[in-house]
């Protein structure tokens, strides 16, 4: 028992506190979204538990059970069983197209009794665990091709399986493991290249090929000017520059082709809406338009808790899940959203700090994996509510309504906090 109390003492209460705050804020927003001023429900009403707010309360309660379970387990369990956990969820992902049920047009859920679970949500945790375990091997060096490929494979397998079940948005989350890999020694060129490719992707959608070409040409001339004299005289320099331009132009053509031929209709539409906010605001662009209206109408102080009209009266679709941020924006205004963004960034900073404090590479890598996943959700979810990101079905961690989502983020976070609580034990090993 002494070990138990010791463990609680070492728990990072700052992170736990922020987690609790986010969950509470999320629940308040969900309550506000279902709140009916003419017939307010309270937690003692039976009908309350058929509403989203009531059910979220159940998810929160069960999450506490999950946290206790995690803390009851031996901290070595996660490292030892990483392979099994990973394998189990890969099997689940393979099985879901055959055994799963469809919820909200997404055929990616398991129904276990009264509870529905989306294995894709948990696959992130499993992947982070396996990746951390793989990197825990001192032999592994991410500057080596072989190790890079193996890491990529661990990430790609669940990604492809999830894309297979038509959940491209959830699959993209796995790209966030680039943060974990970067921290663990992946050369900086890789994230640089990723960012460059995203930039190229967006610009080739926004700009005409001729404009891109002219831009590249100008950049090339500027580049040549700053080169040392001797390099300027070498013919290879110009061959390389010409080659680079050719590759970029080719890639941008590929982007167009992919968008027009590989992507599905609904994905193409989401990109259209993203690029042009005024496109079909009553149809395809309805969601993002309404989301911006809800947030934009909040003003500086917001309309007050339970005072929102847009979010309360269902103008924003998916408003308790993916668009929960609208409620905060409308009811708490600029002050509220700024507080949430600042707190979330502080939370991420805290986790980054804790991760770097880890003595074991497993715990550290896992920590960076957690931060990466949380950040990616933060980026895409808030980004899409204000039109800075295309719409993807991605929840805001801890805030959004939904059992799978809350459970998976709770597990993801608390495994790390459990490992962190044991960091002195790891040293003694």
């Amino acid at each position: 028992m002494s070990q138990e109390s010791n463990q609680i003492g070492k728990l990072d209460w700052i992170s736990v506190g922020l987690y609790a705050l986010f969950v509470l804020l999320g629940w308040m927003s969900i309550y506000s979204a279902v709140y009916n001023p003419e017939a307010p429900l309270w937690i003692f009403d039976e009908a309350f538990y058929t509403s989203n707010a009531g059910r979220q309360l159940i998810w929160i309660g069960t999450s506490l059970v999950l946290i206790m379970l995690i803390f009851a387990l031996d901290f070595r369990f996660f490292e030892s069983f990483a392979v099994f956990i990973y394998a189990a969820f890969m099997l689940a992902l393979i099985a879901v197209p055959f055994l799963g049920v469809t919820i909200n047009g997404s055929h990616s859920w398991f129904k276990l009794g009264g509870v529905t679970i989306q294995p894709a949500e948990f696959a992130k945790t499993a992947t982070a665990l396996l990746l951390a375990k793989y990197l825990n091997d001192p032999q592994v060096n991410l500057t080596k091709w072989m190790n890079q490929w193996r890491s990529a494979l661990i990430i790609a397998l669940p990604m492809l399986l999830i894309i297979g079940s038509n959940e491209t948005g959830s699959a993209l989350v796995f790209a966030s493991f680039i943060i974990l890999l970067y921290r663990e020694g992946l050369p900086g060129e890789y994230p640089g290249l990723l960012i460059a490719l995203i930039a190229l992707f967006v610009s080739s959608l926004l700009l005409s090929p001729l404009t891109i070409f002219i831009c590249l040409l100008v950049m090339a001339i500027l580049f040549v000017i700053i080169l040392p004299i001797y390099q300027r005289r070498l013919p290879q320099t110009y061959v390389r520059i010409a080659g680079a331009i050719a590759i970029i132009m080719a890639l941008s053509t590929v982007v167009d082709w992919v968008v027009n031929h590989v992507l599905k209709e609904h994905q193409r539409n989401r990109i259209k809406v993203y690029l042009d906010p005024s496109f079909d605001t009553r149809g395809l662009g309805y969601q993002v338009t309404q989301s911006k209206i809800a947030i934009g109408s909040g003003g500086f102080w917001g309309k007050g808790y339970l005072g929102g009209t847009q979010t309360k009266f269902d103008f924003v679709p998916e408003q308790s899940t993916d668009f929960i941020f609208c409620t905060i924006g409308e009811e708490f205004g600029f002050v509220g959203v700024m507080a949430v963004i600042v707190l979330f960034l502080f939370f991420l900073w805290r986790l980054l700090y804790l991760a770097d404090q880890q003595r074991s590479r497993f715990a550290r890598a896992y920590g960076f994996g957690v931060v990466g996943i949380l950040f990616f959700h933060f980026l895409v979810n808030i980004g899409m509510t204000i039109g800075l990101m295309p719409i993807m079905g991605i929840p805001l961690p801890f805030f959004s309504y939904g059992g799978s989502s809350l459970w998976s983020f709770t597990i993801l976070l608390f495994i790390f906090l459990k490992l962190d609580a044991h960091r002195s034990d790891m040293l003694s090993r």
Partner: protein
């Protein structure tokens, strides 16, 4: 190196966070369109338009009231029409029309009701009322049309129509919305604010399906509607109808006033129109026809038509001369030396009484000359200016050359030439004298009056020197409130004693003067003065002013009949018939009544060099 990477990673996070906050700042603090869009989404304004006030005549008889009509609204998302054919048959529309209307509604909003069919009558409504339950998403909203008990008085009443774009953008207090009905002319326009009442507004929150979700801000912004106030006019609608019938096939005006109160008993503008034409769903069709009619039936002539007063103005000259002490009842002038001709009449003792009785032109030529020159100094130019100055100051008291302030929007000032006016016309001071302006003496020249002014003048004579500003409404609302302006007598600055000779002259004009046999009423003591108003367009206009009875007058009247010739021919008989009708309640002179009801002077009426055909008139 790895420690540093944490910083790099976090700086990237920070960058994203700053971008987000920047965008939030723009959305929430900078761009106000979202706030409006949000209100548009979730707050429904329910407007309650109260019924417009009713209009009554002086005896409490209802003239104008409201008939409810029904507008059918569709809420596309909720609307389900399974059997389109039956629906179309029920509402009397074609399948194509149904499709168009539905499409338009969808284009407007999926969840907000939009107008589907306008102005269904009570009969149509009764037909569809029961069937409506079978069609969810369709709802009825009630509005009202003006309905008229009488076809008379339409010009003075004015009409109500949908507000036009210009008035909408020019309005001061931002009350009206697109599609609102507003009084366009006449009393409907003048008493618009009282008649319309106050529109009520309720704000309700609605969800994305358009379902109401309770009061917005606990109803603190809601405004209850206030019913429109009724108008109690001074018009005797039976007299109005009678005067109307006499003015058939004629162009002109009748204004009858109760001298003691300034209340207008009747105000006819001929030709007129059936007011119900402009009150139904065919407004635009009939408006088009009426607006294009060359005889301009939409214009309310009495306060706005311009005429020369002709010989009726001689009374003004007589009164001004008497007041200035330049004339006395015994002043005598002969026909000699005047450039104006006269009729054959007894001139052996041509005093003021005789001159009024026979409308003697030379008399008033000489009298006006005396009015200008007596007690003035300098050369004839200077004396003319001094004389005209004091003359015009007195004449202005009668309301000439300015608005009387009748409760109608289209009253015109007319023209009363004064020194300033002639200095402008003749380009300089002392450039004109009596010989240039003597036409004023007999009511011609640059004088311009309206029938309303002449009726008021008749009332001034009847009252011996004062009037109450003429008005059509003697009470607004249940408390019958009226502006003090319409209760306060105005003196014209002529002593009452000077009116005696005028009354006598006008009485004899009727008995054995210019008026003639058809203008005489055997059992009513009427005083009158004929006028013949010259105009460039064609035959003279026939003018007559009168009041009766001579002692304690009950009615003062002015009648103008365009291109009907000498005042005694048309205007005087018509005026006498109206007076008889008003004072006795019946007319005994049936032959004269029949003659003037059927008489038409339209053949003489010219407009755009074309003669108007009889049948182009609306009534």
């Amino acid at each position: 190196m790895p420690e540093g990477r944490r910083i790099i990673i976090f700086l990237f996070f920070l960058l994203i966070g700053i971008i987000f906050i920047g965008k939030m700042f723009y959305l929430q603090m900078f761009d106000s369109t979202y706030e409006k869009a949000a209100d548009n989404n979730a707050i429904r304004k329910i407007i309650q338009v109260p019924f417009r006030g009713e209009v009554y005549d002086r005896f409490g008889k209802l003239i104008v009231y409201n008939t409810p009509v029904y507008d059918l609204y569709i809420t596309p998302r909720k609307a389900v029409v399974t059997d389109t054919n039956r629906f179309c048959a029920l509402f009397g529309i074609t399948k194509g029309r149904f499709d168009t209307l539905t499409r338009e509604a969808w284009a407007y909003s999926r969840v907000k009701p939009s107008l589907f069919l306008k102005h269904l009558s009570k009969e149509d409504f009764a037909k569809i009322q029961d069937a409506l339950v079978d069609y969810p998403g369709f709802s009825i909203s009630t509005t009202a049309f003006r309905t008229y008990q009488s076809k008379a008085l339409s010009n003075a009443l004015g009409y109500v129509a949908e507000i036009n774009t210009n008035s909408l953008s020019d309005q001061k207090d931002d009350y009206y919305r697109q599609g609102d009905y507003v009084g366009i002319s006449g009393l409907e326009a003048f008493y618009e604010e009282a008649l319309r009442g106050q529109r009520g507004v309720k704000y309700r929150m609605v969800n994305s399906n358009g379902v109401e979700k309770g009061e917005y801000r606990h109803g603190e912004l809601d405004v209850n509607s206030i019913a429109g106030q009724n108008l109690f006019t001074s018009v005797d609608i039976r007299l109005q109808e009678y005067a109307d019938s006499l003015m058939m096939h004629k162009v002109g005006s009748v204004v009858a006033i109760e001298p003691s109160t300034g209340e207008i008993l009747s105000m006819v503008s001929a030709p007129s129109y059936d007011p119900s034409l402009l009150a139904g769903r065919n407004f635009s069709k009939y408006y088009q026809i009426l607006a294009l009619d060359p005889l301009k039936p939409l214009i309310n002539r009495p306060p706005s038509a311009y005429y020369r007063p002709g010989s009726t103005f001689k009374i003004v000259q007589a009164l001004v001369g008497l007041q200035l002490g330049i004339l006395t009842p015994g002043s005598v002038f002969t026909h000699a030396g005047a450039p104006v001709k006269c009729h054959v009449h007894n001139t052996s003792h041509n005093d003021l009484h005789n001159a009024i009785q026979w409308s003697c032109n030379p008399y008033f030529y000489h009298a006006f000359r005396k009015i200008l020159y007596d007690n003035t100094q300098g050369d004839t130019f200077e004396r003319s200016a001094q004389g005209l100055q004091r003359w015009s100051e007195l004449v202005a008291n009668f309301g000439f050359g300015r608005k009387l302030g009748v409760d109608l929007g289209n009253e015109k000032k007319g023209n009363l030439p004064n020194v300033e006016y002639y200095n402008k016309v003749y380009k300089g001071e002392n450039t004109w004298k009596f010989s240039n302006i003597y036409s004023l003496s007999i009511g011609e020249g640059e004088l311009v009056v309206s029938p309303l002014k002449m009726a008021n003048f008749a009332a001034i004579i009847a009252n011996k020197g004062w009037y109450i500003p003429p008005h059509l409404v003697k009470g607004v609302g249940d408390k019958k409130i009226i502006d003090d302006f319409y209760k306060t007598p105005v003196s014209v600055g002529i002593d009452a004693k000077h009116f005696n000779v005028v009354h006598e002259g006008m009485r004899d004009a009727v008995l054995q003067g210019t008026v003639g046999r058809e203008g005489k009423i055997s059992d009513i003591v009427m005083c009158g003065k004929t006028g013949t108003s010259q105009n460039q367009k064609g035959k003279d206009h026939s003018v007559f002013i009168a009041f009766a009875p001579k002692d304690n007058p009950k009615i003062a009247i002015a009648v103008f009949v365009e291109n009907a010739g000498f005042g005694g021919f048309a205007a005087a008989p018509i005026a006498s018939l109206i007076i008889e009708k008003y004072l006795k309640g019946r007319v005994d002179r049936k032959d004269i009544e029949t003659k003037f009801m059927n008489m038409s002077y339209l053949a003489n009426v010219t407009y755009n060099r074309k003669i108007v055909k009889k049948d182009s008139l609306k009534r």
